[in-house]
């Protein structure tokens, strides 16, 4: 019996060679890429990883409320909140970042870790990433009659889990359970919340309209406070190494802690114009 099998096997070999090579992927678990255009989507971080040694630089702005009308050029006259953010990828999975926001002169350091990525063959149905960090409010409170807050009273922290899936080449959605914690709450801080702990659920949506531009949405309902929910709608444009994001949003906050604790205007009336410029520098990569 074995011999016959062996014989059949030998008979098959020469004939099978007339055929072409079998086409097979080098990596069967090819990840789904560009779920979002950039590591930021309106205000929230995304699952979009950076290649090892690349640097993501984001300048983000939000302006005053639109309801001032043309007199304040729809909020542009009112001081902008600006955030500079630098994120550097230590590996394809882990990146570290530092940012500085005008609002309360907050310095933030955070990390982002990609646990796994959605794959084209469906072995992973979604991408999962984690992010967390700590910030310090560096405003000068010498003008206060009471003693200025100490360093530890100025600290705030955030943590979040990002789950995202590209449902089709056009539609991507991310769900982000988020938390923020402030060690101390003072009226002088530029937040509306009165709690130390804030829980929220972030939703980010991308709808690709052309090859290089998308409609973007953001909705962050608060889970444990009476603060209004955050809502944003915008337009992303990919221009090679840059991703420009223009949006209307209900909050001036740009970092995670203030997004959750900062409070929101109403949709429509309380809208502000926002604008992000994302640039990825491929440092240390060899040009071929």
């Amino acid at each position: 019996m074995n011999r016959i099998l062996l014989l059949i096997l030998f008979l098959m070999i020469p004939f099978s060679l007339f055929a072409q090579l079998e086409r097979k992927l080098v990596n069967e678990n090819q990840p789904v890429e560009l779920i979002f255009h950039a590591p930021r989507h309106i205000n929230l971080l995304t699952v979009e990883p950076l290649d090892k040694k690349s640097l993501h630089f984001a300048i983000m702005h939000t302006f005053g409320p639109l309801d001032g009308g043309i007199e304040n050029l729809f909020g542009l006259d009112n001081g902008a909140n600006i955030q500079f953010s630098f994120e550097f990828a230590l590996s394809d999975k882990l990146s570290i970042a530092a940012s500085r926001t005008s609002q309360d002169k907050l310095y933030n350091v955070f990390g982002r870790y990609h646990v796994f990525q959605q794959t084209q063959n469906g072995s992973k149905l979604f991408s999962l990433s984690l992010a967390g960090g700590a910030g310090v409010n560096s405003s000068n409170y010498k003008f206060l009659p009471e003693p200025a807050p100490t360093f530890s009273e100025r600290m705030s922290y955030f943590g979040q889990v990002m789950l995202a899936r590209k449902f089709s080449p056009k539609i991507s959605i991310q769900v982000t359970p988020m938390m923020a914690y402030f060690t101390d709450i003072r009226p002088v801080y530029q937040i509306e919340g009165t709690e130390n702990l804030y829980l929220a659920l972030g939703f980010s949506g991308k709808f690709k309209v052309t090859d290089r531009s998308s409609l973007s949405l953001q909705y962050i309902p608060n889970l444990n406070t009476d603060l209004r929910d955050n809502f944003g709608i915008g337009w992303d444009i990919e221009a090679g190494g840059h991703v420009f994001q223009m949006y209307f949003v209900t909050s001036q906050a740009l970092n995670e802690q203030y997004l959750l604790a900062g409070g929101n205007g109403t949709i429509g009336d309380g809208f502000r114009l926002g604008f992000n410029v994302n640039r990825i520098f491929a440092t240390g990569q060899k040009r071929k």
Binding site: F10, D51, A282, K288
Partner: protein, 180 residues
């Protein structure tokens, strides 16, 4: 029975000796636009040359092509080559005649066949050289041009790199004789 098996073993080996394979050929796509020039390189060219049946078959997984800038690679895969739908660039064809290869000397060959990329198939002619080296391996060198518009691949606009319409493809591979 044993003899029969041995006989077939012998026959298969004769056929096999004319078949050469590689899984690590080198493909280079050179994009030479007026202001920017870059290469896309893959070391994962799979190939077969069957000299007895005059069959050439090559393919490369386009996901393995790297240009040296990660973001450019992602755009290439996602927006231009659409590798999720069309992961391979393939060539299947035959030589105008089966060359007689003398070990150590280079022989010019001409191959005619179908080149397929981005879901579009086109008849092309490729000129190259074949050398049988002293180890009995086949060394293949070939260069051909690919016009992106022939394969419905759009040229990027508004980007930090410029992509040439005409891509020069260089293939370098050492194919080993197939053994059992």
């Amino acid at each position: 029975m044993k003899r029969l098996v041995l006989f077939f073993f012998f026959v298969s080996n004769v056929t096999i000796a004319q078949t050469f394979l590689t899984e690590s050929g080198n493909v280079n796509f050179l994009s030479k636009a007026p202001l920017s020039e870059f290469n896309g390189v893959s070391y994962k060219l799979y190939g077969l040359i069957d000299l007895s049946n005059n069959l050439l078959d090559f393919y490369v997984d386009l996901n393995t092509v790297e240009t040296g800038i990660g973001l450019r690679d992602k755009h290439m895969r996602d927006n231009y080559l659409e590798t999720e739908k069309y992961p391979f660039a393939e060539f299947t064809g035959q030589m105008s005649s089966i060359p007689t290869l003398n070990p150590g000397s280079e022989t010019s060959v001409r191959a005619i066949g179908k080149f397929k990329i981005h879901g579009v198939e086109k008849e092309i002619e490729v000129k190259g050289t074949l050398t049988k080296n002293l180890k009995g391996e086949l060394e293949l060198d070939a260069v051909f041009e690919v016009l992106l518009s022939d394969f419905n691949i759009p040229l990027p606009k508004l980007v930090f790199y410029e992509l040439a319409e005409n891509q020069s493809v260089t293939i370098k591979a050492t194919l080993k004789s197939k053994k059992l």
